[in-house]
């Protein structure tokens, strides 16, 4: 169905750039309005492991104080990108700055000012909770260390269990401890690599409440995630697949950038309706939200025609709705599930019926000749902008 990817704003034609559509200009307005600088600004980042380009010509600008969501399938290069930004990996090509420091030359300065939470729990399981916090406080040479650690334990609500080994904590607690450890030195930028993988929903909500608080205090947060409920919390979103950034913008603009049209449908027999919709050419995606179906596609008129025919039949109720981030997220995440097998995904992306959506104006200069090319690339297809 929706195995389609979307061009980056940079790839769009001038016509698009002039419209209110997705452009890099969308980022230049700082959400806090206080600082025009980027917390992260990288251009052309490229990294290959044993000949395979894991990150390919990657650009990204993260405004200070924003919560920036970093979406993409497994193996799409999110972790590698984050590691390059914080100086843990040296890019093969490209340059950039993190908090104003060169990511290739001033790694020590960057490391002192950021908190990086790894995908896997990476504190010492054979140290106690207090020892872990204390160790990282020492690593960052935090002033008034004891108070800081005591405060962190208090905030965590773990003061009573400070002498428990970190390895004996549950997943949710481990993740909170890891967050506390990378906040111990009051970093200005927080890099979170799939922080809530394997954590229950309640713990995830608590975690995000804390992220919000941090953001309000001016901490910039870059977070990679698989989860929709996390993606919708972000101020900005970038979507990456096969090491290339395919779309980026304010999260409110993302649905528009993809150009999805969505209809909200209720019916007595949702299962049958869902099966029917999945066969309909105009419908690229069907998502179920409780007792309603959201049918989305980029061909607005075709959907409209379908709605006109179906509305009222078998008790169906069709109503047009604003496409929201949820639909956009599902659409994006469906476009690739595992980037470790590029050939396979590429083959399946050639699914019939969608080649017509490919935009002629799409320029993918940097991708030409790359074996693991992204799945079939399609531009935003807002009908009004289809002129190019």
């Amino acid at each position: 169905m929706s195995r389609v990817t979307i061009a980056t704003p940079e790839d769009t034609t001038p016509e698009d750039a002039s419209s209110e559509g997705p452009t890099t200009k969308a980022f230049s307005a700082d959400p806090t309005g206080s600082n025009p600088d980027w917390a992260i600004s990288v251009r052309g980042l490229t990294k290959a492991f044993s000949g395979r380009r894991v990150v390919d010509n990657f650009d990204m600008q993260v405004p200070r104080g924003a919560i920036y969501g970093f979406l993409g399938p497994n193996g799409s290069g999110k972790t590698t990108t984050i590691r390059m930004m914080c100086g843990l990996l040296t890019p093969d090509a490209g340059h950039g700055a993190c908090l104003g420091f060169d990511i290739q030359k001033q790694q020590a300065e960057i490391k002192a000012r950021i908190g990086y939470m790894t995908q896997r729990f990476s504190l010492y399981e054979d140290l106690t909770i207090r020892e872990n916090l204390d160790f990282f406080a020492r690593m960052y040479r935090v002033g008034q260390r004891r108070q800081k650690v005591a405060q962190a334990l208090d905030d965590l609500g773990l003061s009573g269990r400070a002498h428990q080994l970190a390895g004996t904590l549950s997943g949710g607690w481990k993740q909170r401890l890891a967050l506390a450890a990378c906040l111990i030195h009051d970093p200005q930028l927080l890099l979170l690599d799939e922080p809530t993988a394997g954590v229950d929903p309640k713990a995830r909500r608590d975690f995000w409440a804390e992220i919000r608080q941090l953001s309000q205090r001016g901490v910039t947060v870059l977070v990679s995630t698989h989860y929709m409920d996390e993606a919708v919390q972000c101020d900005f979103i970038a979507y990456i697949a096969y090491g290339k950034k395919l779309i980026a913008g304010r999260s409110t603009e993302i649905p528009h950038m993809i150009g999805l049209h969505t209809w909200r449908i209720t019916a007595p027999d949702l299962d049958r309706l869902e099966a029917m919709l999945e066969q309909a050419p105009a419908v690229e995606q069907v998502a179920r939200f409780g007792a309603v179906l959201h049918a989305s596609g980029r061909d607005g008129p075709a959907l409209q025609a379908l709605a006109d025919v179906q509305d009222g039949q078998d008790g169906q109720r069709w109503s047009y709705k604003e496409t929201e981030l949820e639909e956009a997220f599902i659409y994006l995440m469906a476009s690739g599930t595992d980037n470790f097998a590029p050939e396979l995904s590429q083959a399946s992306s050639q699914a019939p019926g969608h080649s017509s959506g490919q935009a002629p104006g799409h320029s993918s200069g940097h991708s030409s000749g790359q074996p693991p090319a992204p799945p079939q690339t399609t531009r935003p297809t807002d009908p009004g902008k289809e002129a190019s």
Partner: protein, 377 residues
């Protein structure tokens, strides 16, 4: 910020100590292995084997023949298990391993000897293990000569062998009784330190990578030198403990003397510990898992045991093996320890060995620092 930070170094150090303390099995190994090896090598291994099973084919039941057999018994090299009656039976005893030696005393041995006919006496040895056959074979000539001499009095005086026109005096220095333990035990210190130090360091560092903690560690502003020193120094102390345990045990159990300069020993074993830790660190930069680190460490242990002069005399090896052996830190440490403990060497006597260790250390440290990256590349 870019300089070495003492507090960070101390933080790594403290962390390593805590982790070491919590890892009881490894800790027990570090102390248990030296003692166990000391007992095995000290008590079980003997390069001058005695009491080897011997059969005799006795075709001449004369006083002289009996004197020879008695002399062989008292030499403690030979234990007589029984008689064989034919050459075939003797061969069979050698073949099936019942006998290490078969002594054949031909008919009329004493009579022929008295007649001055230079009769032959045959000692067939199972020389498939040269070490087992060596000592006893070397001793047999003298045993027979003494047996003949003891009987050659009175009417047999004519048979008394005349002494050779010269006398060879062998002075077994440093280990007059030829005790294997005196050779093996000091050398064992080199092997044990090498084994535990290389293994423990490489595994301890690779473990950080395997568990993912390395990523968190190097995402902090920590410097490579702080990590390296903070991780190595706790194990230097482990080496101290091992050495202390070792010296006490070798003195109490094997009476290994300590004749030389404690200072020379102290400097030498510190150098040796550091070179092994650096080697472990180097391995950790290659190894992808703890398993690999362990395998590489054990792979390196073999030349340490075989080519360093620990098990076999260094001078007896061919040139290429000596060249390889010279590149092994243990070779030089072994010489140093033996010189100091057994030969009473002082600092100047072992300077050359220390120099060699320092040279090897320099190469390893440079390679390790070059390989160790502050990134995950």
């Amino acid at each position: 910020m870019l300089r070495f930070s003492l507090p960070r170094f101390l933080a790594v150090l403290v962390k390593e100590f805590i982790q070491m303390r919590r890892d009881r099995v490894t800790f027990a190994m570090m102390i248990g292995v030296p003692i166990m090896q000391l007992l095995i090598f000290g008590y079980a291994i003997n390069s001058d084997p005695r009491h080897l099973p011997t059969y005799v084919e006795m075709a001449d039941n004369s006083p002289l023949s009996r004197a020879i057999i008695y002399g062989m018994k008292t030499s403690s090299y030979f234990d007589f298990e029984g008689q064989v009656t034919s050459p075939e039976a003797g061969d069979q005893a050698l073949k099936d391993g019942r006998a290490n030696f078969v002594l054949v005393i031909p008919p009329h041995f004493q009579r022929d000897l008295l007649r001055g006919q230079r009769p032959q006496i045959l000692l067939s040895a199972d020389a498939s293990d040269p070490a087992a056959a060596g000592g006893a074979s070397a001793a047999i000539g003298q045993i027979v000569q003494q047996a003949v001499a003891s009987l050659a009095s009175g009417p047999l005086a004519s048979a008394k062998p005349s002494p050779p026109p010269f006398e060879v005096i062998v002075h077994r220095q440093f280990n007059p009784e030829g005790l294997t333990a005196l050779n093996v035990v000091p050398g064992l210190l080199g092997v044990i330190l090498s084994m535990t130090m290389v293994l423990i360091t490489s595994v301890a560092i690779v473990r950080e990578r395997e568990r993912g903690t390395m990523e968190a560690l190097i995402s902090t502003p920590v410097r490579p030198a702080e990590v390296m020193l903070g991780k190595i120094i706790p194990y230097v102390l482990v080496g101290y403990v091992q050495t202390a345990v070792f010296l006490l045990a070798s003195h109490a159990l094997f009476d290994v003397p300590f004749l030389g300069s404690p200072l020379a020993f102290f400097i030498g074993f510190n150098l040796y510990i550091v070179v092994n830790l650096a080697l472990g660190f180097l391995i950790s930069t290659f190894a992808k898992s703890q398993m690999q680190a362990m395998q590489v460490s054990f792979f390196l242990l073999l030349p340490t045991i075989l080519l360093s002069g620990f098990m076999f005399p260094f001078a007896a090896m061919p040139g290429w093996a000596q060249t390889i052996g010279s590149a092994i830190p243990a070779t030089h440490f072994l010489r140093l320890v033996r010189k100091v403990m057994l030969k009473g060497a002082a600092l100047p006597d072992v300077a050359i060995d220390m120099g060699a260790i320092v040279l090897i250390m320099a190469v390893i440290v440079v390679a390790a620092l070059k390989r160790y990256r502050q990134t995950l590349d």
